[in-house]
């Protein structure tokens, strides 16, 4: 094999990996047993972390990347891709996850940020990254830093889908508004939203984000997952929603089927029957501003 002819970690490969996840459900897991349940249900990938967001919220303290031993065990347990979360700006956690063999790193606001000024320079990595965003400017800043996939931030660990809805509608609305603008108008938009003009032009031309865009942060039921797909998500992350549900196996399988049948209410009705109750959750309105996870990162 001529090694010089092999190219690893290119934009095409990183964004290509994210494209293979489209139409799928990515589930948060904290143990190999949970990862097995997710794979069996039909998840396209699992996200390894120390505790699901609902528990992080409850327990408080500093939330860091998952125990590398646990990440390694999850990698050895399932055949689907394994993603893992690193703290915002913590490029060494990201390097460790890459070294462990994680297939994608989530630079996540769910963990306690390690840097309050800079996100990770994701172009320096071979593995692709996914990052959260609340609006088009934030999404394109992350893409400019090398993110190969975007997800709405929503408000993780609440089981309240309203913030994910707000962020998805915000991003989609801003993209629609670019339609028909002149170049000089788009230059002004780029300045307003603090995003590179090249990426604004590319987004306008494609009429979608230049990378895959998933929904995340509060998805708790098959109906929530279908709602996010109807709003234009390419797929769905489910955090606490699976393993905080009454019956995780049934909930996991139902959410996978709901994403495939998101536009068919009859089938959704069938899928949603007899799966037990969703996570109890907490209404976003009752969360004090300083406890909101979505304001981490910028």
């Amino acid at each position: 094999m001529e090694l010089e002819k092999l190219r690893h970690g290119t934009e095409l490969i990183k964004r290509g990996f994210a494209k293979m996840q489209k139409g799928g459900v990515i589930m948060d897991v904290t143990t190999p047993e949970q990862a097995k349940i997710a794979e069996e249900a039909g998840a396209v990938a699992v996200m390894a972390l120390q505790a699901v967001p609902a528990d992080i919220r409850k327990e408080g303290g500093v939330a860091r990347m998952a125990d590398p031993q646990m990440v390694a065990e999850i990698i050895n347990t399932v055949t689907i891709p394994v993603m893992a979360k690193a703290r915002i700006g913590h490029f060494v956690e990201a390097e460790i996850l890459q070294a462990l063999g994680a297939d994608m790193v989530d630079e996540s606001e769910v963990l306690t940020p390690a840097d309050n000024k800079y996100h990770i320079d994701k172009t320096q990595f071979t593995v692709p990254f996914v990052c959260g965003a609340r609006n088009l400017g934030e999404a394109l800043r992350r893409v400019n830093e090398g993110a190969a996939m975007i997800r709405t931030k929503g408000e993780a660990g609440t089981g309240d889908v309203s913030e994910a809805v707000k962020h998805m509608k915000q991003i989609m609305g801003e993209i629609r508004a670019l339609n028909g603008m002149t170049k000089e108008e788009m230059i002004a938009v780029a300045r307003d939203i603090e995003a590179p003009i090249e990426l604004v032009l590319e987004t306008a031309q494609m009429q979608r984000l230049p990378v895959v865009n998933f929904a995340a942060g509060g998805v708790a039921t098959p109906a929530d997952a279908a709602l996010m797909m109807r709003l234009g998500a390419d797929g769905v992350f489910v955090g606490s929603g699976i393993f905080k549900a009454e019956n995780p196996e049934k909930m996991a399988k139902a959410i996978v089927e709901a994403v495939n049948n998101y536009d068919n209410p009859e089938i959704l009705a069938q899928i949603s029957k007899g799966i037990g109750s969703g996570m109890k959750g907490i209404s976003v309105d009752t969360i004090p501003q300083e406890q909101a996870l979505q304001t981490r990162g910028w």
């Binding site: 970690g9 293979m20 489209k22 139409g23 799928g24 055949t79 495939n260």
Partner: protein, 197 residues
């Protein structure tokens, strides 16, 4: 003519776009339709199984009742192309990993596959690949790609990389370990369309 793209999960839009570009270039007309549920495969003249996660795709092809329809389509000798996860689904036999997850394969092509022959995502790569039906190399993108370990006498090997078989065909079936739909070069899709027109 109608070409179906299985749209349960994966890079469906990329295949649809690539097929439309290829059709445009050759000046031929065909409907390109996406398929999520049963009842449509039988109305197609050719079919594409896209890249995605093969465990997810396999499970949902069964749950949705599409798997049997693809068997019938193959029995009728209609062209079917599988890329990456699609290649795995076409195979008769998987490896230990495939067995471990009780993954369902369509079993159309007489070959055994290795699910992640080239490793994890950090090992994914692009390279220039020689294909016997092309006059110059093709920029092939391999993402957590499978390889064909062993194949029967009816299978023609089209390309190897690092001593592993990464492209093969068996009559109407074309199996590729890489993703021709991720680049703008339509030559591989053209080769597939030659089986239809």
């Amino acid at each position: 003519m109608r070409i179906g793209v299985i749209a349960i999960q994966g890079d469906v839009a990329e295949h649809v776009e690539a097929l439309k570009r290829a059709l445009d270039e050759r000046g031929q007309i065909a409907d390109v339709v996406t398929i999520k549920h049963k009842g449509i495969v039988s109305k197609c003249d050719a079919l594409v199984l896209p890249g995605g996660e093969s465990t997810t795709l396999g499970k949902l092809l069964i749950r949705e009742g599409i798997a049997d329809e693809i068997q019938d389509m193959n029995n009728a000798g209609k062209p079917i192309m599988g890329t990456c996860a699609g290649l795995i689904l076409l195979a008769k036999q998987g490896d230990e990993q495939v067995a471990k997850t009780h993954q369902h394969l369509l079993g159309l092509m007489d070959m055994q596959v290795n699910r992640n022959a080239f490793g994890r995502q950090r090992d994914s790569f692009e390279t220039e690949l020689e294909l016997p039906f092309l006059s110059s190399p093709y920029n092939a993108v391999f993402i957590r790609a499978p390889a064909i370990l062993d194949s029967g006498k009816d299978v023609t090997i089209l390309a190897r990389f690092d001593d592993m078989v990464v492209a093969a065909e068996q009559g109407n079936l074309l199996a590729l370990a890489f993703h021709p739909e991720l680049t703008l070069d339509t030559r591989v899709h053209q080769y597939f369309l030659n089986k239809l027109f």
